[in-house]
């Protein structure tokens, strides 16, 4: 296990190195005068020149890159061209917000998708099975921005059950913010014992989380169904049945664990997919996480932020896959 982790970590470092090079190179190669953007609208040429010196943009690209990497090692991701704030600081604030909804969505998609798939497999060829199949297909076929808008229309406009936007009610925002311990809102609220705050936050997260969860839910439900059906054909299931192991144990204990491995793999993918989908969901729900930030930065070509976000997304992608691989090894000892 340890060598495996070391190898994965080395892979991560390598990936990040390449990613930084690529994104950094891109940010310098692409048109879009970094210094001019830094100075802002209506900048004067001499101001831009000054900023260029200040940002070290007069140096050759490789020097700039090395400097950037040097600062990166110290946890300094540079300064946003748009807001002039340290990127690392904003990242620290916004990443947990997005991770929170993404993880919740992941949780929901597993907590619902897996039982759906299992029940469908168990009740194969019944109406339950076709219903799950239909729901699964629909869930993966819904364009996420459309789903988000639809949810707003139905649950805010028509039914009024859920709030429209943001991460807490404005009423709550007039109160003092909670102490940031973990930076995960729900957990911080729980730690602070402020259940009202927590409920309010959960209420606001609901629609974004549902939008995010839709695709993974469909994937997990469909995959767990087919994987389980395949596993139930295996020799060892037949053998256990022949030795007198009961049908329920066979299905839910023997079969399920065997079927889990592909489901786990799809979760790694889902994680990456959902992080990208926060770009849309957070925009539509006005949820101030990393996706919202990324989108705003994209349209203002805020390169330091984009580099940082790319790195973080890359790292999360690799890390979540590593975690998934560890889990898969644990579930299935055959995986080398």
């Amino acid at each position: 296990m340890l060598p495996f982790l070391i190898r994965r970590l080395a892979g991560l470092v390598f990936l990040l190195l390449i990613l930084t090079m690529l994104v950094f190179g891109l940010s310098r190669a692409l048109p879009g005068d970094v210094a001019a953007m830094y100075v802002g609208l209506k900048a004067k040429p001499e101001q831009i020149q000054k900023a260029r010196l200040e940002l070290g943009l007069d140096k050759p690209v490789h020097v700039q890159y090395l400097r950037y990497m040097g600062r990166l090692l110290k946890g300094d991701l540079g300064i946003s061209l748009r807001t002039h704030r340290p990127v690392a600081r904003d990242l620290k604030e916004k990443l947990p917000l997005s991770l929170e909804i993404v993880l919740l969505a992941l949780l929901i998609s597993i907590a619902l998708g897996l039982p759906m798939g299992v029940v469908a497999a168990f009740k194969r060829d019944t109406w339950i099975d076709s219903a799950v199949n239909m729901i699964g297909s629909a869930a993966v076929s819904l364009p996420i921005f459309f789903l988000a808008l639809l949810l707003q229309l139905v649950f805010f406009n028509w039914l009024g059950w859920f709030p429209l936007q943001g991460r807490i009610s404005t009423m709550m925002e007039f109160r003092d913010p909670l102490p940031a311990v973990t930076r995960f809102g729900l957990i911080d609220a729980l730690l602070a014992g402020d259940l009202e705050y927590m409920a309010d936050m959960a209420w606001h997260m609901f629609l974004p989380v549902v939008s995010l969860a839709s695709i993974p839910l469909g994937l997990v439900a469909r995959l767990s169904r087919s994987s389980l059906l395949e596993v139930m054909q295996a020799d060892y299931i037949m053998a256990a049945r022949a030795s007198g192991v009961g049908e329920t144990v066979l299905f839910f204990r023997y079969g399920l664990r065997n079927a889990l491995s592909p489901v786990l793999s799809i979760m790694g993918l889902s994680m990456a997919l959902m992080l990208l989908n926060t770009f849309y969901v957070e925009q539509i729900f006005n949820y101030p996480g990393i996706g919202y930030w990324a989108l705003a930065s994209i349209f203002s070509l805020d390169y330091p932020v984009l580099v940082a976000i790319t790195l973080v997304l890359g790292a999360i992608y690799v890390l979540s896959n590593t975690i998934i691989d560890v889990l898969r090894r644990w579930v299935d000892p055959r995986i080398k």
Binding site: L15, P143, F145, F146, L149, L150, A272, Y280, I298, L306
Partner: protein
């Protein structure tokens, strides 16, 4: 001479038998209700897209001509799906937008396969360095958000369907390379590869004559199942204004354009969203069925 004729006859007969068997299987396949329904939807939408100028009630509005006299009309006999803020007939725009979705999706999927499959073949067959390098590059591209690629491309060649499609192909092909690499590694262990080696045939011969035909099925199914995600992805970029440019129609862009009016004129955003949903769902159902049918 006579023998030759006889064999020719035999060959024809065998081919005929094959065709008949395939026909029977295809009919059985189409008897599945969901497959047939999905196929029908696909065919209808594709036909509408191809013959857009004939199908659309107001072709010039489909292409972007404004009609300020009839802004924001609700659904009616004249405008079956209403009109948008420029007074353009939504149905006409849907029909033109279908072109983007279908042909854009087709292009992405084909290009991804065209790049990914040969690289995957190469990576799988030669193991060692090329395999590692290709899968590494793939990993990097996959972990690179498509939106950022789209931005990069947009800044160079400007926003448009072309940039969106290129931006999507870049992180898309590695999936093909990856799957094909795995498939080749599996097939390579098949003994017929060794048999061909033993006959003195070289790598490229084996690759193209033996391995390629055997992975085509996988590639086809993958392409079919990828159609939906590709269409949605074009929509996503269109939604961000990184895809098709106004006043051309694109379903994602139409949702984006209609979103501000969601409360008063919900039809503007809902029609293209629903159209996309139906198209993608049809592709998915058809692909699932096809996979079942090919596997079964």
């Amino acid at each position: 001479m006579k023998d030759e004729l006889k064999y020719k006859h035999l060959a024809e007969q065998a081919a005929r038998e094959h065709r008949r068997e395939r026909k029977i299987r295809t009919i059985a396949f189409l008897k599945r209700k969901s497959a047939a329904a999905a196929l029908l939807v696909l065919v209808l939408i594709t036909l509408a897209a191809v013959f857009a100028p004939l199908v659309a009630p107001y072709p010039d509005q489909g292409k972007g001509a404004v009609n300020l006299g009839e802004r924001l009309q609700p659904l009616s006999g004249k405008h079956l799906l209403g009109t948008d803020t420029f007074g353009r007939d939504i149905l006409s725009r849907l029909v033109y937008g279908a072109r983007v979705s279908i042909f854009g999706g087709l292009f992405i999927v084909c290009a991804a396969a065209l790049i990914g499959v040969p690289l995957g073949l190469w990576a799988g067959y030669s193991e060692g360095a090329p395999g590692v390098v290709i899968s590494r590059i793939g990993e990097i591209l996959i972990s690179f958000p498509a939106v950022l690629i789209a931005i990069a491309i947009t800044t160079v060649i400007g926003a448009g369907l072309t940039s969106a499609v290129i931006a999507l192909i870049i992180p898309w092909w590695p999936w093909y390379a990856r799957i094909i690499q795995g498939e080749v590694l599996r097939l390579k262990r098949m003994l017929f590869v060794e048999a061909a080696q033993m006959l003195g045939y070289g790598k490229s011969y084996i690759l193209f004559r033996h391995l390629l035909p055997n992975i085509m099925r996988t590639v086809m199914v993958m392409m079919l199942l990828d159609f939906g995600p590709a269409i949605i992805s074009i929509g996503l970029l269109g939604f961000l204004g990184l895809g098709t440019q106004p006043p051309n129609a694109d379903w994602g862009l139409m949702v984006w354009e209609g979103a501000p009016n969601l409360m008063q004129q919900p039809w503007i955003a809902i029609s293209p969203g629903a159209a996309m949903f139906i198209l993608v769902m049809a592709f998915n159902i058809f692909g699932d069925n096809l996979q079942d049918y090919l596997d079964g």
